[in-house]
């Protein structure tokens, strides 16, 4: 028995992971875990947690779950980033060694893309889309909960790698043969493949769910060309997800087979072809870039008209550019590896296709500027992020065009220029967009407004910090510094710019703290949103109370044009003054279920077993998955009646029922 325990300790906590940072993380997890269990038990909240949150199928609650996870992951990824920047501040000064640095840059990238940006986007999809298109829920509410729990348990599996067994350390792209067992023993890379596979299933399902929701569940009269632009961007993003994630799943699954069962798809020996993985990965990876940027474009297309008090300029060209980006996004993946010897014809083709995709993007920038032109711009935090986005994203796009110039890319590839470029578009585009959307839709999600003054402090810290961090990195690229070096020697002239960059990163960290403080402060003291329309909004979600009742719309509105709610307000109408008691009908709502949670848990157990190749545990988890799916397939009792009286009562308390 002691031998078994020794084996267990050695496998789960190998010497590599007994570093101060890991032990600190172990301790924090333990303390936080005990704290959560204590509070839940002390205040008898276990049942509440299970009934209200863990089993919920309500898109508004799932949105909040996604948001909490995304902010927690933003914290984790941000701490990773600060560790990286601290290590690089000075030449040959390494608070964390190579081993840990390699793990941290891998987890930073993976977490920020898959476990921060994606759930943040899904939080806003869930919170907004059904309300915006005049629907009571998404098309498949249970599937929606399954998506969330697959994501959540995938994220958990990825995150425990830091303290149990060791993190992946081959970069967020996980190129073979570096991920091969021979070069990368230990469970880290298996964690990477399995957690992304599990979360990837959830993401694919979300794509299907929102595609169907938008195609099938729009309110009567809302034709495609009357949809709010955020709904359009969600539609296009969902289509991208559905076709982009399968190549990733294939690449990850085959790599996992290579590692776990000794096949040779991508290995160094036995005729494996590492470059095949690179192709598959970026066949997913480039559409993924647009999967995370298009929702931000959608958010800005909502924020700009609202705060400019003016209709969106060029609706049709906005739609044309979205759809053309969707198609072009699949034709540019080779620009991630011009320097892999594909030859001048292939490189020239993909260089040109990359330039081509800048055209629809440019169209959108001009349209936003001309939406502001002739408007009345109110400077709120949501609008500030949009106003920071335009200059930032244009610079990021311009440096991207320079990378699409193939011969220039030969010099810039894998240098800090690339690092600066993709942070410029991912932070300047996606993160600014998501934060703008967060401040914009927060009242709708939670019923209170985030304090504007504190929000502006956070905004300036974050945006200034961003530029101070990444402008020097462009120059570092021109100085020949390559990515993913854990330290660098003195004498290359790299240290000055690195110090500046690190200072900027900590300023961004301060911006994050300001954001969290803003949320916590406003939770207690923030202004309540009693009207449901704090920003003088234009689209249907603002016609509802904040937060929207469980059934969203007591009666589904009929839509007559773009910006339906604005048109209603111009005619002196609201949803409330149209609703008579006899209009309210009884409804059926989807019933809560514990199945999605158990499914996620089974995947987690199975994944954990596979990481350590403890087959009984893996098989047990797999059987759990099958059991959950069988249960789901035969569970016909999935609806709950909601009597008309209850709806009348709820609407009455909001004062939204005509006497």
């Amino acid at each position: 028995m002691p031998a078994f325990l020794l084996y267990l300790v050695h496998t789960l906590f190998p010497p590599d992971t007994r570093q101060p940072t890991e032990l600190g993380a172990d301790f924090m997890i333990l303390v936080t875990g005990i704290g959560i269990v204590y509070i839940l038990t002390r205040y008898k909240k276990w049942r509440w947690l299970w009934r209200e949150w863990l089993t919920t199928v309500d898109h508004k609650r799932i949105a909040i779950l996604y948001l909490i996870a995304a902010i927690a992951m933003l914290f984790r990824g941000g701490v990773d980033a600060l560790m990286l920047r601290t290590n690089l501040a000075l030449p040959n000064v390494q608070p964390i060694g190579a081993l840990e640095y390699n793990e941290v840059f891998t987890t930073h990238g993976t977490i920020m893309i898959f476990f921060m940006a994606m759930p943040f986007i899904f939080a806003l999809f869930n919170a907004v889309i059904p309300l915006q298109i005049g629907s009571r829920d998404v098309a498949f509410p249970r599937l929606n909960a399954m998506s969330y729990w697959l994501f959540a348990f995938g994220a958990m599996l990825f995150n425990i790698s830091f303290v149990v067994g060791g993190s992946p350390n081959a970069g967020w792209t996980g190129y073979p043969p570096l991920t091969e067992l021979a070069f990368n023993p230990g469970p880290g890379e298996s964690y990477y493949f399995l957690s992304l596979l599990i979360a990837g299933i959830g993401t694919t399902i979300t794509g299907i769910n929102f595609l169907v929701t938008i195609i099938r569940m729009r309110a009567p009269g809302m034709t495609l060309m009357r949809m709010p632009m955020f709904a359009w961007s969600t539609l296009v993003t969902s289509a991208l997800i559905i076709f982009a994630f399968p190549p990733l799943t294939v690449a990850l699954a085959l790599s996992l087979l290579d590692r776990t069962f000794g096949s040779s798809f991508f290995t160094l020996g036995h005729g494996g072809m590492p470059m095949m993985y690179v192709n598959l990965f970026w066949l997913f990876g480039h559409p993924e870039v647009y999967i995370v940027i298009l929702p931000a474009f959608g958010i800005f297309s909502e924020v700009v008209p609202t705060f400019s008090k003016k209709r969106l300029f060029g609706y049709t060209t906005m739609v044309i550019s979205l759809v053309s980006i969707m198609f072009l996004a699949y034709g540019t993946w080779v620009h991630h590896f011009f320097t892999m010897g594909a030859g001048p014809t292939v490189n020239a083709f993909f260089g040109l296709s990359t330039m081509l995709i800048a055209i629809p993007t440019g169209v959108k920038i001009f349209n936003w500027i001309f939406t502001m032109w002739g408007g009345r711009i109110r400077i709120t935090v949501a609008m500030l992020y949009q106003m920071a986005f335009i200059p930032t994203f244009v610079v990021g796009g311009a440096t991207g065009i320079m990378l699409s110039v193939v011969p220039a890319d030969y010099q810039l590839h894998n240098s800090y220029w690339v690092v600066a470029h993709f942070h410029n578009v991912l932070i300047g585009g996606t993160v600014f967009g998501l934060l703008s959307g967060l401040y914009y839709w927060w009242p709708k999600m939670f019923g209170f407004i985030l304090n504007e003054r504190q929000g502006k402090v956070g905004f300036w810290l974050f945006v200034i910090g961003f530029w101070v961090t990444f402008l020097p990195q462009y120059l570092l690229g021109l100085e020949g510094m390559t990515r993913r070096m854990y330290t660098y020697p003195f004498g290359f002239g790299w240290h000055e710019l690195n110090v500046i960059s690190t200072l900027g990163a900590f300023t961004m960290g301060a911006g994050f703290i300001a954001l969290v403080y803003n949320i916590l402060w406003s939770l207690r003291y923030g202004e309540r949103d009693l009207t449901g329309d704090p920003w003088n909004g234009r689209t249907l979600e603002w016609a509802l109370p904040s937060p929207a009742p469980e059934y969203n719309f007591a009666r589904i509105p009929v839509v007559h044009g773009v910006d339906e709610f604005w048109a209603m307000k111009e005619q002196g109408m609201t949803l409330a003054n149209q609703l008579r008691p006899q209009d309210v009908k009884a409804l059926e709502l989807p019933k809560n279920t514990g199945m999605p949670f158990m499914l996620g848990l089974s995947f987690f157990v199975g994944g954990f077993g596979m990481v350590f190749e403890w087959w009984p545990i893996a098989i047990f988890g797999g059987l759990g998955v099958v059991a959950c799916l069988i249960y789901a397939a035969f569970d016909y009792d999935d609806k709950e009646p909601l009597p008309a009286d209850v709806i009348r009562h709820t609407e009455g308390t909001f004062g939204r029922l005509q006497a």
Binding site: N102, A170, P176, P177, L178, F183, G271, P274, M275, S308, K309, K310, F313, G314, T316, T317, T339, M340, G341, G343, N347, A348, G351, L352, M355, A358, G362, F366, N367, I369, F370, M372, G374, R376, I377, I379, V394, A398, T399, I401, M402, S404, V405, V406, P407, A408, Y410, Q411, H413, N414, S415, L475, G477, L478, E479, G480, T482, R484, F492, G493
Partner: protein, 302 residues
């Protein structure tokens, strides 16, 4: 209201100053900006194209910044703003197509030289006879074999000035990229593939190179040094290495395969089977990326 206008003007002046300072920082940059100070024709033409694209992009950035700045300054929501408010203006017959045309024109201007230079750099200059160097990236070191001089080095190499050098790149390890920023762009080293890359030094000097692709724990140490010397000096160096250094045996090669970092090494000869060989874990299967000719090292095996 007037105060607000003035403060925004001040903001613009500060922005302009910041842009100027940044420009000085970049243009007045010292020799550490290796990409901006190429020492050979490949790096030179890459830099020219980069600068051309940067200027075109600066035009775009300028146009957008000016339009955006005007919009923000003129159409702020403050009492007494006399600028026209047109809440229902949402489309324009000429402006919207123009959004497509402006970027398309600018990108065409960049695209034409991009394609030309991409094709031009894929070919060796025809009249000159290149020096061939076979490069293998190992964990975590660089092996350079000179098939014509019959010598090999680790982590440093000599090349003659004014003569194109054709590098054949492969790996007996995870991927790396071979990059000497002073001479020109990088190319991947991948197991099971041989990729060509040509560079040329037009000035004598010592230029550092590094791997651009993360390859594990010793990746940071994958620096190497390129000594560009005159033709006679190059020949003399090769002869000296052949005369004085020890030969590389297969055992020595296997020692190089170990996962570690080492300093510079020289060998008076190398076993033909090291380039690329079935005995070290991979077979060369060919394929669309494999060079078909001009590859004396590959034909020498077995």
């Amino acid at each position: 209201m007037r105060r607000r206008v003035r403060s925004s003007r001040r903001a613009y002046r500060m922005l302009a100053l910041a842009a100027l300072g940044l420009g000085l920082l970049v243009s007045g940059c010292g020799p550490q900006y290796v990409v901006l100070h190429p020492k050979g024709p490949v790096g030179q033409s890459e830099l020219h194209l980069m600068a051309f694209a940067a200027i075109a992009m600066a035009v775009v950035i300028l146009v957008v910044f000016v339009l955006f700045g005007i919009a923000v300054v003129r159409f702020r929501d403050y009492p007494g703003n006399r600028n026209p408010y047109t809440p229902h203006w949402h489309s324009h017959k000429w402006l919207e197509p123009l959004w497509f045309i402006i970027p398309a024109v600018i990108l065409t201007v960049i695209a034409v030289p991009t394609v030309n230079v991409t094709y031009a750099l894929a070919k060796l200059p025809p009249s000159k006879d290149p020096v061939v160097i076979n490069v293998t990236s190992l964990n975590w070191k660089w092996l350079f074999e000179y098939p014509n001089q019959k010598i090999a080095t680790v982590n440093y190499l000599y090349i003659p000035v004014g003569k194109p050098v054709l590098f054949h790149l492969t790996a007996d390890s995870p991927m790396n990229t071979f990059w000497v920023p002073s001479l020109g762009g990088m190319e991947y080293t991948m197991p099971g593939r041989i990729l060509p890359l040509w560079l040329e030094a037009s000035k004598p000097g010592v230029y550092w190179g590094h791997s651009g692709q993360f390859s594990g724990i010793g990746f940071e140490k994958m620096f190497f040094y390129v000594h560009a010397v005159s033709g006679p000096k190059f020949t003399a160096w090769a002869n000296r290495v052949r005369a004085t250094a020890r030969p590389m045996t297969l055992t020595a090669y296997h020692q190089l395969l170990r996962f570690n970092t080492i300093g510079a090494e020289s060998y008076s000869s190398f076993p033909a089977s090291t380039w690329p060989s079935v005995s070290h874990g991979f077979t060369l299967r060919g394929g669309m990326y494999l060079l078909k000719s001009n590859n004396p090292g590959a034909t020498a095996q077995h």
